[in-house]
Subunit: 134 residues, 4 copies
């Protein structure tokens, strides 16, 4: 799982009048890849769990080169840290061998109802720990 | 209330690489105007009511002319029909005196939990009836 | 080509606070499928051609049942009419054997620069004609 | 200009099935505010200039508290640095006196055609310099 990535096509919905992918939409591609990462781990409904959910606490993104209409992108996910309350991922977006975007995303576990910080289940914590890159 | 409309600016998020507003995004502008129409009627949380919600059943849109980046749009709402279970609205999008888009939207009332058809509250039905264009 | 369809996953970006796919976002799925239909026909840059582009003139959509987070959707495209200036498609969105959405989309050919109506190239017209459902 | 901000309503298009504003959509609100900041400075077509444009190079966002449907948000912009090739802004999103989001955005000036780094016009550089917070 250290080299998880997914492919995604750039459709016209993703672009803007500057002729490139709109800067906020790279975060959509990044979330799709994180979701597929969890699905690969066996969580088939990974966006909203039972009673709790993960919400993004911190994002930082560096845009190196723009992506264009019809590009085929590859979005990677690497788990670089996990605690009982949070995990951190490093992500990149490539167009073949060109690196377009680098990002770091920290997500925290909150209760579904009131969005307060809560511990993730032990089983999930241990699973994430076992997939963290050293 | 027969002449309700709202203003909205076209930002770069609304456009696509063709240099115009992306066709699905006009439906966002139309929904914003419907929401503000309900807010004007006194419903301050108009997208999701208490236990029920309205979901769109039918949309038809004719795109006459494109909207461009930085345009100031005016989006109108006219209630043209209402029953216990549904209402129908006619909407237009203008850029000053140019008509860009014409649309019809039929929304039905469903239970929040299971999304099944349900009657809207009497008070709301009568209010909508009183604002329907003859 | 009479039975073209593509698969798409519902991610959290596609949903709204009502817990279902936001009504405008089905039009995104529909456009992705139209784009892949053209790609299948050999047009690898199908959203913006050389000097001309297709813009949607008319859309009508009937929402039969909502799609939910994590659903796997199948979006079909059938070409039902073509002229020198326009083509019309019938589209459906299914979740396995449940039909969720029916739509009709008419697109017209315009010059890229001034967005005025123009004839599509002969070669494309004949190709589309040969893939029109009788 | 040191205290520029704009108001924006949260519509259902901005939310997701978790019941909160989707994390990428805060970047849309932030861009709207940056655009209005430039409009206030006299640039009426601020997203795409004549021959050049600004593209985001770096974004970092901390999400402190979620925004919900129907919230009225206030999005601030403060120019904190400018060079011939780039500017940096600090932005915050508030719901009345609650701070929900903090962000930093660095944008660089590129040629419209090939997206290569280029100097911004002197007049714009000096204007931005005069509005930079010391």
């Amino acid at each position: 799982m250290n080299d998880f990535d997914m492919k995604a096509r750039v459709y016209i919905e993703d672009t803007d009048a500057g002729g490139i992918v709109y800067y906020a939409n790279y975060l959509r591609f990044m979330e799709r890849a994180r979701t597929e990462f969890f699905r690969r781990l066996g969580y088939l409904k990974p966006a909203l769990f039972n009673g709790f959910q993960f919400v993004v606490r911190d994002v930082s993104v560096r845009y190196l080169k723009p992506a264009f209409l019809d590009d085929e992108l590859s979005i990677s996910v690497a788990l670089i840290g996990v605690s009982r309350f949070a995990f951190e991922m490093s992500q990149e977006i490539h167009r073949f061998d060109e690196r377009l975007v680098i990002g770091f995303v920290k997500s925290v576990c909150v209760e579904e109802k009131n969005k307060r910080l809560t511990k993730m289940p032990n089983k999930l914590f241990e699973l994430l720990q076992s997939h963290t890159i050293q």
